[in-house]
Point group: C2
Chain length 308, copies 2
């Protein structure tokens, strides 16, 4: 059996407050607190890159548990804002951490669905190749591609990173996954000439229409119903989309929380950042995780607590 | 059992002859024919992108076998020169081909080791998630990042793409894989400000030193020796590196051929382009495949013929 053993997270030193931007974007406290739900967002320094964010998350992981680097047979980075396209970020992280030559490394290009997809990729690779342990990094510094005049993106996306340690002594193991792609809608979230363009309404409509049905399908494939689930950790796109999903699925808001008030939408890191909080909440047995975004792409699975 | 069922390949309409560049780069026929071994290289049109190359390879695949798009549960693109970083190329290809919503899509960022890595990723994902069939695209248009004044890269890298159909009725199944990374050497191949920089000597030394040992290790893990292998399909970095590997391993050149004379180093497509030729060569039972490059990264495995 393999699964999630531990999680490290990282945030930048500097944050930008959305309250300071009220006049500039003609928004009020209600919009900040209830609509997007994001009060402030992390902003990396100009010289910081995705690989630095990964190293930061790894240092946090090391502060939580011993990591024997000689046991890490696989190192994956999920990002769409790499230091550069050549080489991949995972090779840079491998070099900076001085890992062994026998460690397999590659990057996965996915956005907000990336953690869930990569969890399946990593675990599948581990089982098939008898790998001992793996590190799954998520680090997507959107601040590098945000147009400072774009209210839709500047107020929402924050920099943050996570690293998930996967191995044979897990806190959680996963159930069956569900994956999906609506490639014909990919224009809703693009980056052209290093500027992010988001059709917020398009993404919202996609998520509100697609995810409730997909989550029901995934639960059925695991012989579960939504009543069996203690917490739904869905991608923190905005408070409005999380609240809408809870309402459409008839789930009480406390069971599908929005928790990104103080760091915003961290793309593929949004789910592991929250999962870190639950690692030692032993009363929580079953968690649904669900990502959706760029692609448009979506994925979900359940986490079942092993360590009690 | 799953494995490689078929392969489609694609080349651009336009090629550039290295013989036309002899004066400019002060090179002779010996350098072209024996050292790099590359006589001409494919060059995509300015408006063509990685996703177009994938579609071209898919059309070639369709000309070779029936592809039921409703059975494709996974679509992976290996590239480090995507149309854009957001969205991933696999979502664009998914949209252009009109595939079903339940198809999982993601890109893998790797260079010349990418096909071998991705073959393991795809097959592992398929087994773990009970996927029926998958398409593994490789498309890395280096012509977009080549400095026309750089002899080291312009004469070597050509545009080309491939798509590998993986499913339950294979021509070949894979053996055990070997993977490796030397992240501390990643500076030997980088792209900065959209310009590729290659330390050719660094890459050569890495490959000549690392790959013979790694191939021996991989063969041993599969309970095979090099005498059991009919053909070694190694990454077509240059004729010189392929010849050097054959010599160092004591393998006759005909068993480790250089075949990229007419299209050059096509990065992650170099191996599947050659494998297409062998699909129906029934006398060839066991093939070693071996990729190495950007990262620095390497991977190898064997293909065992199932369909006789």
């Amino acid at each position: 059996m393999i699964g999630i053993e531990n999680i490290g997270v990282w945030f930048p030193e500097s944050f930008e407050s959305n309250f300071d931007l009220k006049a500039r974007f003609e928004i009020d406290d209600y919009f900040i607190n209830e609509k997007i739900g994001v009060q402030k967002v992390g902003r990396i320094k100009p010289e910081e890159q995705a690989s630095d964010m990964c190293i930061g998350a790894f240092r946090n992981l090391e502060s939580r548990c011993a990591v024997d680097s000689t046991e890490i047979d696989l190192l994956v980075v999920v990002t769409q804002n790499p230091d550069s396209n050549i080489p991949h970020v995972s090779a840079l992280v491998h070099g900076k951490l001085g890992f062994s030559a026998s460690c397999a490394c590659f990057d996965i290009s996915l956005g907000c669905s990336g953690f869930v997809y990569a969890l399946s990729v990593v675990q599948s690779m581990m089982k098939e190749n008898s790998f001992r342990r793996a590190l799954l990094f998520t680090a997507d510094p959107y601040s590098k591609i945000i147009d400072p005049d774009d209210k839709n993106t500047r107020l929402l996306f924050g920099d943050g990173a996570a690293v998930t340690l996967i191995g044979p002594n897990p806190v959680w193991e996963t159930g069956k996954f569900s994956f999906g792609t609506l490639g014909h809608l990919s224009e809703a979230l693009t980056c052209t000439n290093s500027i992010l363009n988001m059709n917020g309404r398009g993404i919202f409509d996609f998520a509100a229409r697609t995810m409730p049905k997909d989550l029901e399908k995934m639960l059925t494939s695991n012989n579960l119903t939504k009543e069996d689930i203690d917490v739904f950790v869905v991608h923190q796109g905005s408070k409005f989309i999380v609240d809408t999903l809870a309402k459409k699925m008839g789930i009480e808001p406390a069971k599908m929380p929005f928790k990104a008030q103080e760091y915003g939408n961290t793309i593929s890191s949004s789910i592991p950042i929250i999962l870190q909080e639950y690692l030692e909440e032993f009363s929580i047995g079953k968690i649904v995780i669900c990502g959706f975004g760029v692609g448009l792409s979506y994925a979900s699975t359940i986490l079942k607590r092993i360590k009690k």
